[in-house]
C-alpha cells in the first residue's frame, strides 16, 4: 500500500523513497515484534518464571518485513503502475468476462453433476466417501446457506449476523418432528422451511426500524437467543447432549440399510454406505439448484428489484409506493426459509445435532462467504463457498507440507492461519468480493454489468 506512494503514476523506481519506507517498516516491525517475539518466559525446575530472549528470531521477522516492503515498493508497485498505464480505459475484466460467463455456468453444473462418479472412479469405494461427504456435501450446504443469506444481505442490504439461528430452527424442526411423529424427510423439508420462515418474520418485525450496526447487533443477539434456548430447554431439545438417532432420508421409501428391503438388496448391489452418501449429495445438489433457480427468478420479479432498490435507498422506495415493511419481511422470510431447508438436510445427513453446530462462528462463516463472493452474485457466492469450506478442508490433506517443513509440522494446526491470510489477501485485492459487478435484472439493448463503485452495500 505504502509502496504505491513511492511511484504511483510514473512507474519509475524511487530508491530513496523505498529505502525510507523500508526503514520505517523495520522500526515498526521491531517495536511490534520485540515484546511479542523477542522475549519469552518459561518456567524452570523451581517453578519460577525465567525471561528468555530470542533476538535471532526477532531479526528474521524484521528482515522479512523489510524485504516485503522493498519488494512491494521496488517491484510490485512499479509493475502495477506500468500495467495501469498500458490499459487506461477498458479494463481487462470486461473483455474476458463475457466468454467466461457464457461457459462457466454450464461447465460448473456439468462438473458438480458428474463429481461423485469422477471421485468414485479415481478414489474407489473407500476413498470416495470422504471426498463426496467432506467436500461435496459440506460445500453444497454452505453454498445453499450462502444463497439464502445473499437474499437478505446481498440483495436487500440488511446485515444479518444471526443467520445460523434459522439453520438451527430448520435442523431442530426436522429432528424433533421426525423423531416424535415419524414423518418422512420429504414431508418435513417444506415444513422446516415454513417454520424457519415464520421465525424469520418474527425476527423481522422488531428489527424493521433498525439499520446498519443496530440491525447487526440485534440479529446477532437473536442468533444467540436461539442457541441458548436450544441449550437450556432440556426437556425438548436435550440441551448440550443434542439429539441423536435422527431418521435418515430414504430413496423414495427404500431405506439405505442392510435389510432385505434395503437399497442395496433391492437393486442387487453389495451393501456399502457410499450409496447413501451419493444419494445425499444429489439431494443437496437439487436443493442448491432449486435455491439458485428461485433466487435468480426472484431477482427479475418486482419483489427482487424492490429488495435491491431498498438496499440502494429506502426513502426513495417509500416515495414510489413500495411497502418497505412487507419487502423487508419477505427478504427475511425467504432467506430464513432456505436456511431451514439446509438445516433439515443437515440434521438428516448427520443423524445427530447439538447446539455446538449453531455457534456464531457459523454465522460469521456464512457471512464471509457472501461478502467474499461479492454481494448479490450467485456464482461469486458458490466460488467463495468452495474456496472457504473446501480450502479449510483441503489443508487437512496437505501432507506434502511435511516434506518441506519436516515431520513435526502438522498442517491442520495452521489451516486457520493460512485461511485468515487468504481472506486478508483477497479483501485487499478485491475489496468488493470476487464478483465485483452487478448484473442488471433486465435490459433494453445490451446487458452491461454495473460497476461495484456505484452499487450501495446497504446499511
Amino acid at each position: 500500500m505504502a509502496g504505491s506512494t513511492a511511484a504511483p503514476e510514473t512507474g519509475d523506481i524511487d530508491i530513496v523513497g523505498s529505502l525510507k519506507h523500508a526503514v520505517v517498516t523495520a522500526l515498526i516491525a521491531f517495536g511490534l515484534f520485540l515484546p511479542l517475539i523477542g522475549f519469552k518466559t518459561t518456567q524452570d525446575i523451581h517453578n519460577e518464571l525465567v525471561l528468555e530472549t530470542r533476538f535471532p528470531l526477532l531479526l528474521i521477522f524484521v528482515a522479512l518485513a523489510v524485504a516485503g516492503s522493498l519488494v512491494m515498493s521496488l517491484i510490485i508497485a512499479p509493475w502495477r503502475a506500468r500495467r495501469l498505464r498500458r490499459r487506461p480505459a477498458t479494463s481487462e475484466e470486461s473483455r474476458i468476462s463475457p466468454a467466461i460467463a457464457r461457459w462457466f455456468a454450464p461447465f460448473a453444473l456439468g462438473f458438480v453433476i458428474v463429481y461423485p462418479v469422477l471421485v468414485l472412479v479415481i478414489g474407489g469405494f473407500q476413498g470416495a466417501v470422504k471426498w463426496i461427504d467432506n467436500f461435496g456435501i459440506q460445500i453444497l450446504i454452505y453454498v445453499m446457506l450462502g444463497f439464502g443469506l445473499n437474499i437478505v444481505v446481498g440483495l436487500a442490504g440488511l446485515l444479518d449476523l444471526g443467520y445460523v439461528a434459522f439453520y438451527a430452527v430448520g435442523s431442530y424442526s426436522y429432528a424433533l418432528l421426525a423423531k416424535t411423529f415419524g414423518l418422512s424427510f420429504y414431508m418435513l423439508l417444506p415444513l422446516a422451511g415454513i417454520l424457519s420462515a415464520f421465525w424469520g418474520i418474527l425476527l423481522g418485525f422488531p428489527v424493521l426500524r433498525l439499520r446498519g450496526d443496530y440491525l447487526a447487533i440485534v440479529t446477532l443477539a437473536f442468533g444467540e437467543i436461539i442457541r441458548l434456548v436450544l441449550i437450556n430447554w432440556v426437556p425438548v431439545t436435550n440441551g448440550y447432549a443434542g439429539i441423536s438417532g435422527i431418521p435418515r432420508p430414504s430413496f423414495f421409501g427404500i431405506p439405505f440399510n442392510t435389510d432385505d428391503n434395503g437399497f442395496a438388496a433391492v437393486f442387487h448391489l453389495e451393501f456399502s454406505p457410499i450409496y447413501r452418501t451419493i444419494y445425499l449429495y444429489y439431494l443437496i445438489l437439487a436443493l442448491v439448484l432449486l435455491t439458485a433457480f428461485v433466487t435468480t427468478r426472484l431477482r427479475r420479479l418486482p419483489i427482487g428489484r424492490a429488495w435491491e432498490a431498498l438496499r440502494e435507498d429506502e426513502i426513495a422506495c417509500r416515495s414510489l409506493g413500495i411497502n418497505t415493511t412487507h419487502t423487508k419481511l419477505t427478504a427475511f422470510a425467504l432467506g430464513a426459509m432456505f436456511a431451514g431447508f439446509a438445516g433439515s438436510f443437515f440434521a438428516a445427513r448427520q443423524g445427530f445435532i447439538s447446539p455446538e453446530s449453531f455457534t456464531f462462528l457459523e454465522s460469521a462463516t456464512i457471512l464471509s462467504i457472501v461478502v467474499l463472493g461479492g454481494m448479490g452474485s450467485q456464482i461469486g457466492v458458490a466460488i467463495a463457498a468452495i474456496a472457504m469450506i473446501g480450502g479449510t478442508e483441503i489443508l487437512r490433506e496437505l501432507d506434502v507440507l511435511k516434506t518441506w517443513f519436516g515431520n513435526d509440522f502438522d498442517p491442520t494446526q495452521y489451516r486457520m492461519l493460512v485461511f485468515g491470510l487468504a481472506m486478508v489477501l483477497i479483501m485487499i485485492v478485491r475489496p468488493r468480493g470476487l464478483i465485483a459487478t452487478r448484473a442488471p435484472s433486465l435490459f433494453l439493448t445490451a446487458r452491461k454489468p454495473v460497476s461495484a463503485a456505484l452499487v450501495k452495500e446497504g446499511q
Partner: protein, 301 residues
C-alpha cells in the same frame, strides 16, 4: 372556492419540539395547474412537502386530495369526522393524506415526489429505476411473486408493458440511449430528469417537485420547463413545485404560494406575487415594505 381543486391544505401546522416549521398554512392547488411554493431558505417549504407526501405526520391540520370531479368534496366533512383515511365513490375518491403512511400516499392517493438531494437507485440501470417505480401494478401482475416465480405468461406481458412505458419516458427525457447504464453514472441534469420520469411512472395525479432546477444551467433549466409543461398538458398531472429559480417559477407556474417563517404571506398569480411588497420584504430579509424602499434607495434602484 372556485375552479376544480385537487389538493386542499387546511390549517396545517408542523412543530418539531419548540420549533414551528409550518404555522397554520392553508392553500389550494387546482387540478391541471402548476402551483409553486416559494419562500426564503428555512421557510418550511420542504416540510410542507413532507407532510403532503406522508413522510411527516403534521401536528395539526388537514390535507385532502380529490380524484375525479369536484363533487367528491361534498364528502370532506363527513370523512374527516368519521376518522376514515379515504372515501371512494362512483365518480372519484377523496383522500385525507395526513392520515396515510408515506407509501400509501403514492400507492393509493397517487401523489409522487422527487427530492431536493436526488435519490435515485444509483447502482441500478435507468430502466430498472423506472421499473421499480411501477412496483405495485407489477406486483399484482406477478400474483404477489407466486405466478411470477412459476413463469406465468400474464406476468411476462405485464412486464413488457412496463418496459414499454419506461421506454416512453426515457424517450421523453432524452435518455433512451443510456437505458442500460447505471443511474449513478448520469450527469447531474440527467439525474434530475430521470428522477422526474421515475416519479411519473407511478401514474400520479399530483407530482411534487422539490427544487427541480437546483444546480441546472440555463439550457437545462429551459428543457426542464418544457418537461414540466408537457407533464401537465399531456399526462393530466398537476404539479406542486418548490423552486428558488424565479425564472422557472414565474415562467411556468399558474399560481404561487409564498411562505416565510412557516406562515403564508402571499398567494396568487405570478404577476401579483412579483409586485407584492411583503414578498420582496421577505426575500430581502426586512420587516416591512417601508424598509424595502429604504434599501432600494440605498442600492440605487
Amino acid at each position: 372556492m372556485t375552479g376544480d381543486p385537487l389538493l386542499r391544505v387546511d390549517h396545517l401546522s408542523m412543530r418539531f419540539g419548540g420549533l414551528v416549521a409550518v404555522n397554520d398554512l392553508s392553500f389550494v392547488a387546482e387540478r391541471g395547474e402548476i402551483t409553486a411554493l416559494i419562500g426564503p431558505n428555512g421557510a418550511g417549504k420542504t416540510t410542507v412537502f413532507n407532510c403532503v407526501t406522508g413522510f411527516y405526520k403534521p401536528t395539526e391540520g388537514r390535507i385532502a386530495l380529490a380524484h375525479g370531479g369536484a363533487r367528491v368534496w361534498e364528502n370532506l366533512t363527513a370523512i374527516t369526522l368519521r376518522g376514515a383515511r379515504y372515501h371512494r365513490r362512483a365518480d372519484g375518491a377523496l383522500f385525507l393524506l395526513e392520515r396515510m403512511p408515506d407509501y400509501l400516499v403514492t400507492q393509493k392517493a397517487k401523489v409522487a415526489r422527487t427530492f431536493q438531494n436526488i435519490r435515485l437507485f444509483a447502482g441500478m440501470t435507468l430502466l430498472e429505476n423506472l421499473l421499480v417505480a411501477q412496483h405495485n401494478p407489477l406486483m399484482i401482475a406477478s400474483g404477489f411473486t407466486l405466478f411470477g416465480v412459476l413463469g406465468a405468461k400474464s406476468y411476462a406481458r405485464a412486464e413488457a408493458a412496463a418496459v414499454e412505458k419506461a421506454r416512453h419516458w426515457l424517450d421523453l427525457i432524452g435518455l433512451i440511449d443510456r437505458a442500460d447504464d447505471p443511474a449513478g453514472a448520469l450527469p447531474y441534469g440527467a439525474q434530475r430528469r430521470l428522477e422526474i420520469a421515475r416519479a411519473m411512472c407511478t401514474d400520479p395525479v399530483l407530482l411534487c417537485l422539490d427544487e427541480p432546477a437546483a444546480g441546472l444551467n440555463p439550457r437545462e433549466s429551459a428543457e426542464l420547463n418544457q418537461l414540466i409543461r408537457a407533464i401537465r398538458t399531456d399526462h393530466a398531472t398537476s404539479v406542486l413545485l418548490i423552486e428558488h429559480d424565479m425564472s422557472v417559477v414565474m415562467e411556468i407556474s399558474d399560481r404561487v404560494v409564498v411562505l416565510d417563517y412557516g406562515s403564508k404571506i402571499a398567494d396568487g398569480t405570478p404577476d401579483a406575487i412579483r409586485n407584492d411588497p411583503k414578498v420582496i420584504a421577505a426575500y430581502l430579509g426586512v420587516a416591512d415594505a417601508d424598509e424595502v424602499e429604504k434599501i432600494k434607495a440605498e442600492v440605487g434602484l
